[in-house]
Amino acid sequence: MNDFSSAFTAALSLLASGDADLAEIIALSLQVSLGAVFIATCIGMPLGAATALYKFPGRRTVVVILNALMGLPPVVVGLIVYLLLSRMGPFGVLGLLFTPTAMVFAQVILIVPIIAALSRQIVEDLWREYDEQLRSLGAGPLRCMATLLWDGRFSLLTAVLAGFGRASAEVGAVMIVGGNIDHVTRVMTTSIALEVSKGNLAMALGLGMVLIVLSLAINGSAFLLKESGLRKHA
């Protein structure tokens, strides 16, 4: 208990001091996770919507695979991306291993299935309601998809948030493909793990608090946005 309170005080003073290393770690974390969420949204949402709307060969296989991939262990994704990007791997020539790009890449793989699977559910429900009306108005397949994504925008925020939650919280994948290199690939989760192992609980706790506050802030504002949107457009 004493440990905790002293660590807590130290963490607060560390945060208050505006420690430059801390700021750098936080900034990189946000950059990696938000970047991954953005890319995964661009891939996952249309993919989810397409599996909801179109009857293409292999559609059921895609659905099953997406659902199965939702629960991928981050360390395994990290390992696979590591193998792909390592010097011996097929993408070794790009020299991406132990860079923030590799971390984004791993997180994209981790969260595309989440965003796609949740989007599919949301779009499918909406499609049931919109189907005949949109066809009657004369919307083609692509236009239908765009319309459903737009009209489902507030519900779809949930899918994006779920993706962000997973990306910002995971440590396994970024640890393996990023390497937790100081000033290069050190993010909040990896440095928490490191600081704890070094016994530097103040820094670990400070980072942990920031992580929680950030996550609360992002989820909270998205929640408010979603609520007001849903209320407005029923």
Partner: protein, 252 residues
């Protein structure tokens, strides 16, 4: 050729039209020819197949057998020249004006022309003051009007209306009927269903009477209401036809 003639998709011929779902035959060998001009009202008790017939004609459902043939000059693309208002219209999660604008954009109209048309539609349906409200918070009657405005906006040659005034109060019903009248006068062919016999008398030029998936009578409105040929149509007009009655036993 005038614009109206170029866009003509009528007459619409349906022949031995049959529709099946869930292992049941729900529309049975319906044959009819919809010519340009008169307003058609489809009557019949609940579950008669009125909505299904409209959706078949509108191309939303595929018949199990039979033909749906558009015969006008623009018949190669009939979908472009028709619109439908559903029994339960679906409003997009946007503003009132944006709902109409959406329908117009699907017809490839440019932004400026759309703006003018949207305003005109809102005015004709009395929705101008609601232009920027989210469509889904409108009252049921207002949504019906918006659905009409959205369907009318694209200047369809044929407009299918599925119970456009069901569950509206008398004033709203009246307002909608005025709009339907205006649409008719503007040259759009109205094909609608209703349960409201008074409304059918006010609007119909031609009446189709359906029961249990069959088209039992099609007559000019005057003739239909004065002396319906079909016994069940007569019972229906007198408010005596119940959908759970067995037509077979009635006839005997």
């Amino acid at each position: 050729m005038s614009e109206a003639l170029q866009n003509e998709i009528l007459p619409l011929e349906i022949e031995e039209l049959t529709f099946e779902a869930g292992g049941k035959r729900l529309i049975k060998e319906v044959t009819h020819k919809f010519r340009a001009g008169p307003r058609t009202v489809i009557l019949g008790p609940n579950g008669a197949g009125k909505s299904l017939l409209l959706r078949l004609c509108h191309g939303l459902l595929k018949p199990a057998s039979g033909k749906i043939r558009w015969c006008g000059a623009a018949a190669d693309d009939p979908a472009r020249h028709q619109a439908m208002v559903f029994q339960r219209p679906v409003m997009l999660r946007r503003t009132v004006a944006a709902n109409i604008d959406y329908a117009l954009s699907l017809r490839g109209m440019d932004r400026d022309a759309r703006k003018v048309r949207v305003e005109k539609m809102l005015e004709s349906t009395g929705l101008s003051r609601l232009a920027n409200s989210p469509a889904r918070v409108l009252s049921f009657g207002e949504q019906q009007k918006l659905a009409l405005a959205r369907a009318w906006a694209v200047k369809p040659r044929v407009l299918f209306l599925d119970e456009p005034t069901a569950s509206l109060d008398p004033a709203a019903t009246h307002a909608i009927e005025d709009v339907i009248d205006a649409i008719h006068k503007a040259g759009t062919r109205i094909i609608m269903t209703t349960h409201d016999l008074g409304q059918a008398r006010r609007i119909a030029d031609e009446v189709l009477f359906m029961h249990r998936g069959r088209l039992l009578e099609s007559s000019p409105a005057d003739a239909f209401f004065e002396r319906p040929e079909d016994e069940q149509a007569r019972a229906f007009i007198h408010g005596e036809l119940l959908w759970w009655d067995q037509p077979e036993t009635r006839l005997q």
